[in-house]
């Protein structure tokens, strides 16, 4: 259990070795059964979404549930992507997310460099501020943001949404990037400079390559946050062709009820990029989030 990274499971040996006695083995069996039960409960809603997405109409609207999507069909996905505005909304989501990620990463990287590499008056205060503002509820900020944007005629425009997304993406990216830069030992850069490289050279050849994975991880997390956002887009974008995917998902529920099959297909499609990216970087970020919190 000692030096493994927090989330990486320990080798089998550690658990198996301790169990020659029957009682121990029985205990392990019990724990495993409980573990599998929790697994089923946690994963089931996700499974139900995906399996509903692949089911035929009669199998979805059936009074006794069909556990497996047999026969499987792609009709729901076809219905979802052929819905009006789907591709436009995908495009909108990508534009908003793309611009937000590039903008916030650029600004955040500069700020994070200042916070990690320099000692200056007001640094601690700024860091505290960066942590604290992440706790301000978005729902409170939406009122003044909406009023300001309507004064500036930025309502129902993607540019307005992009501006508002900076409120929650930027502080977060500054905070995480700073952590990644702090993780690069100062000695490495100093060694490069002793060897005759300029500070800028050391930055480009030593710091940048070492921080690159952190930059990727942070941009992916910024991507996820912006992609998942609902309330701002919902308030600011009123015409359907301007909306983003999370708002688009609401279009499946009309007065006549909800089109569950297509909705589950649409939900799966919306979740897919996020889940994929998340799996790539989760370990890195989860570690960064609490690293040091247990040191005491």
């Amino acid at each position: 259990m000692s030096s493994a990274t927090p989330i990486a499971p320990t080798p089998v040996a550690a658990v198996v070795r301790q169990g020659p006695s029957a009682r121990r083995r029985l205990g392990l069996l019990g724990w495993n059964a409980a573990g599998i039960a929790v697994f089923v409960v946690m994963v089931f809603p996700v499974y139900w979404m995906v399996s509903t997405a692949f089911k035929t109409g009669p199998n979805i609207f059936s009074y006794s549930p069909k556990w497996l999507p047999v026969p499987a069909t792609l009709a729901n996905f076809g219905d979802a992507i052929h819905r009006q505005y789907f591709w436009q909304n995908v495009r909108n989501s990508l534009i908003v997310v793309g611009v937000v990620v590039v903008l916030s990463l650029t600004l955040a990287f500069l700020a994070a460099l200042a916070l990690a590499k320099f000692k200056f008056y007001g640094r601690r205060a700024f860091i505290v501020l960066i942590i604290a503002v992440q706790m301000v509820p978005l729902n409170a900020l939406i009122i003044p943001l909406y009023i300001t944007l309507s004064r500036a005629h930025q309502v129902n425009k993607l540019s307005g949404v992009i501006i508002t997304y900076m409120t929650f993406v930027l502080p977060f990216t500054i905070w995480t990037l700073r952590g990644f830069i702090l993780g690069v030992p100062r000695e490495l850069e100093e060694a490069a400079m002793v060897d005759g490289t300029t500070r800028f050279g050391a930055f480009v050849r030593v710091l940048l390559p070492l921080v690159a994975p952190g930059l990727v991880a942070t941009s992916i997390f910024a991507f996820i946050q912006a992609w998942n956002e609902y309330i701002m887009a919902y308030v600011l974008l009123s015409s359907p062709e301007k909306q983003t995917l999370t708002v688009w998902l609401a279009s499946f529920t009309t007065n006549r009820g909800t089109a569950w099959g297509p909705l589950m297909a649409g939900a799966t499609l919306t979740a897919l990029p996020v889940v994929g990216f998340f799996l790539l970087v989760q370990r890195r970020i989860a570690f960064g989030l609490t690293a040091g919190a247990v040191r005491g």
């Binding site: 994963v43 139900w48 900076m166």
Partner: protein, 317 residues
């Protein structure tokens, strides 16, 4: 500044043409910080100022069109204080937060402890499931749960009827706010468990095994080991997780808004929903702002606890 200077002196001695003065000014921390600071000022600083000001103004549709509010002093706040609905909503939000945070922490910690005990394969499976749930966007999660409790074809009703819990055929969970909030709690807790479980598990794996073994040799029971050894060591993590959970659950909005098809009845108002409805449905932006300000002030206390713990843990270096 001092650190930066000494760094430069080394480099500049070797390369006199790369003027020390120029480098220092170009890379000055304030210069690097300035762009982010300006943007934060515009997208966070100004809105925070504006919401405080709006809460002292009459700001309805008329004012929205004229782009100018009318100063009415404390009237919005007096209106709130004398509004029994506000107190109901506040109480409901506090209760909702208490229940959700407790459930999240207890279940999350239990799963973390379970992760330590199961065999490797099960641990992999469970971790993967947690990460999947963690990654699921809230908007998607709400739709999935809405489908699970659908009155006609939802799985929940079928299952409960089959298990003879009662007759749940065509049962609508949202007619009764208590069972409705039960569903909403399920969505919130289900979505929040992974972060807590994985973080606590990460913390558990840093607790020295010798300490636990020593306690066990001394004959301590499992519960006592947890209470006397593990819990105190993980206290910093728990303080952070609890304060974060309170902050997050106190402002729950999407789960209610989407679950109830963007028009929740008054029984389902939490602070964030109430403030939103007052502003964007009834167009009383001043009143909505006052409610939001109260919400921010309440959360400020928990933010303080959180930030202080982060400083203590050495995160603010």
């Amino acid at each position: 500044m001092a650190v930066a200077e000494s760094d430069f002196s080394l480099a500049s001695r070797r390369r006199p043409r790369w003027s020390r003065h120029r480098v220092a000014s170009a890379a000055s921390p304030y210069g690097l910080l300035a762009p982010a600071l300006v943007v934060l000022g515009v997208v966070l600083g100004y809105p925070l100022y504006l919401i405080a000001r709006l809460s002292f103004e009459k700001y309805g549709l008329f004012e929205l069109i004229r782009h100018k509010g009318r100063w009415i002093g404390l009237d919005n706040y007096t209106a709130i204080i004398h509004d029994s609905q506000f107190w109901h909503v506040l109480l409901r939000t506090v209760g909702f937060t208490a229940v959700n945070v407790s459930l999240t922490m207890v279940l999350g910690t239990a799963i973390a402890l379970l992760l330590v005990r199961v065999s490797t394969v099960v641990r992999y499976m469970l971790t993967a499931a947690l990460v999947f749930v963690w990654a699921t966007p809230v908007v998607v999660a709400v739709d999935v749960w809405r489908w699970l409790v659908d009155p006609q074809f939802g799985l929940a009703n079928w299952l409960l009827t089959k298990l003879h819990v009662g007759n749940f055929v065509h049962h609508d969970w949202f007619v009764n706010p208590w069972s409705g909030f039960g569903v909403i709690t399920a969505v919130v807790v289900w979505g929040a468990i992974p972060f807590v479980a994985i973080t606590v598990f990460a913390g558990l794996s840093q607790v020295p095994a010798e300490l636990i073994e020593a306690a066990q040799i001394d004959g301590a029971r499992a519960w006592n080991v947890f209470r006397e050894v593990t819990l105190p060591l993980l206290k910093p993590i728990f303080v952070i997780l609890v304060s974060l959970s309170i902050i997050w659950d106190f402002q729950v909005f999407n789960q209610i808004w989407i679950m109830l098809d963007q028009r929740p009845s008054a029984d389902y108002y939490l602070m964030s929903v109430y403030s939103f409805v007052e502003s964007f449905r009834i167009s009383e932006y001043g009143l909505g702002s006052a409610i939001a300000v109260v919400m921010v002030l309440i959360m400020f206390g928990f933010t303080f606890v959180y930030v202080r713990q982060m400083v203590k843990a050495g995160e603010v270096r």
